[in-house]
Symmetry: C2
Subunit: 335 residues, 2 copies
Amino acid sequence: MRILFTAAATLALATASFAQEAEAPAPSPGEIVNAAPTEDWTIIDPEDLMVMTLPPLPDGTERKVVMQLISEPFSQGWVENIRTLARAQYWDGSAILRVQDNYVVQWGQPDPEMGVEPKPVPPGLNVMTEGDYTALWSDVPAVFENAPEMTAKMVANLEATLRGEQVYRGDPYAALTINAEGWPVAVEDGYVWPVHCYGMVGVGRGMSPDTGDGSQLYTVIGHAPRHLDRNIALVGRIIEGIEHLSSLPRGKGPLGFYEDESKRVPIVSVRMGAELPESEIPRFEYLSTSSESFAKYADARANRRDPFFIVPAGGADICNIPVPVRRFEIVDEGE
Amino acid sequence: MRILFTAAATLALATASFAQEAEAPAPSPGEIVNAAPTEDWTIIDPEDLMVMTLPPLPDGTERKVVMQLISEPFSQGWVENIRTLARAQYWDGSAILRVQDNYVVQWGQPDPEMGVEPKPVPPGLNVMTEGDYTALWSDVPAVFENAPEMTAKMVANLEATLRGEQVYRGDPYAALTINAEGWPVAVEDGYVWPVHCYGMVGVGRGMSPDTGDGSQLYTVIGHAPRHLDRNIALVGRIIEGIEHLSSLPRGKGPLGFYEDESKRVPIVSVRMGAELPESEIPRFEYLSTSSESFAKYADARANRRDPFFIVPAGGADICNIPVPVRRFEIVDEGE
């Protein structure tokens, strides 16, 4: 059986309890998550996890960053490349190249113009094209069928956009946004795409949409740069250790690149979760976005009723409803 | 006369030029800002600036953080307190108390429960109440009259919400959001309030809305926590040096507080800009939000036509249209 190991780190303001009506305190978002039954949690396959190790800090603090790869049908050509690159140990000896405040941290092998002989990528990487940045609605079966947080208005909006009607956007960037199948996605004009929230991981690319093989990656460390949606491939998200990236010194060159290469933090290794020794395999689970617990959590994020709050917002943008993720531990029940 | 000193650091992806039609490259957001005529820039009064000095880094890097106080009619009771506290040198010898990833950095004198005898606040601070978290529409004259980025749909939406009608929110948190009088604000139900974008500065408070005198402040270092709008007083924004706060190690205690007080970065001093010696007075200006240049800039942020982009978003949330701010230098024209 699995037991909880550490609490989720997803909830910023989850300390206070609140009273929805006198004598009947309603749970906070964090309390809803903590009270969710085991069956509302979905285990993440270690085949979908990747562990990046940076050198320890001078005080001995270990630095490991755990990333979850995005599930089908999104960006799968790039995701496959990333698995190939990790298995080839391509990123071992690479570095953090760029830290731009309120934007991204980017890593990989340095570009040739940085004066380093580039490390060859393994053979067989997919070349992706413009159409791969979104998924057709028809390729995303059941994504929204099991999304209990959807209100009647959201359903009507979704149906209208799928009929190709012009709808009033409920979000500045799309007709509809929702957490579905464990991921934050947007829908419009018959297409579905993942969105650039804090901690999401994308594929660096050049001017042409078919550049970017997955060998340089970045993660968002500021306000969601949603204008990048459908323009850069999202391949996953950081689920643990993002602070080892977000707290790095900002680069002083254009776009936050480290001009002084001695400032680049070296990457010791990047490994697929399932490749690690048994005791080091990362064990994570997320709160199923099709569960009633998730619907309650999303509602509480949009309508904070904790006593601290004067005015509940009556809404929340998709990036302010992060999918709760936590560690669990496998314990031997014995005999 | 004033001349430009350094380029604004507000534009993340402003490097590429773009072609709106063949042979007629349209300017990028950054190019629009750089091309704005002098009269489109508004000088920030040094009386509205505050400079926080942290100790230099081990490599000698100076650490100064410049904050702009919010203009009338927002949060003015708290803003007055902050001026009083700065003039009393209240924050000298205080510290960064809390760094929570994707959320806030908070500073001030430690709370009594942190085991330190609290430094007394200067006399005469205002006690603010619940109604002070928003401004009545009627108290915000002309805020929207000079907002050329407003589309006909936004104007209709604004008029409807001012008539008290239920409007379809164009943003998950408010009927309307816009940069007006130099600040990002939201409007609904006859009220106007500033919003929690990256870098905005707010007043820490306890459970009751009338706690929080301005003696502990925080700034946003992650995705805009808009659920705090109307619940915590916003008093300004960081306009230079936020990287000295956002790149600090995250605290390991609840809510990112530093449990080990040796981790707290000391604050050497906080001074009003106008109190500094002439040569150190900060000289900043912002792109007037009522200028045509700003309207073009906002449109370009919402519709990226640079060659890098495949699909312009067709919209942008208020926190992705940061008001451009830059330094200028006063030069003596001679005779």
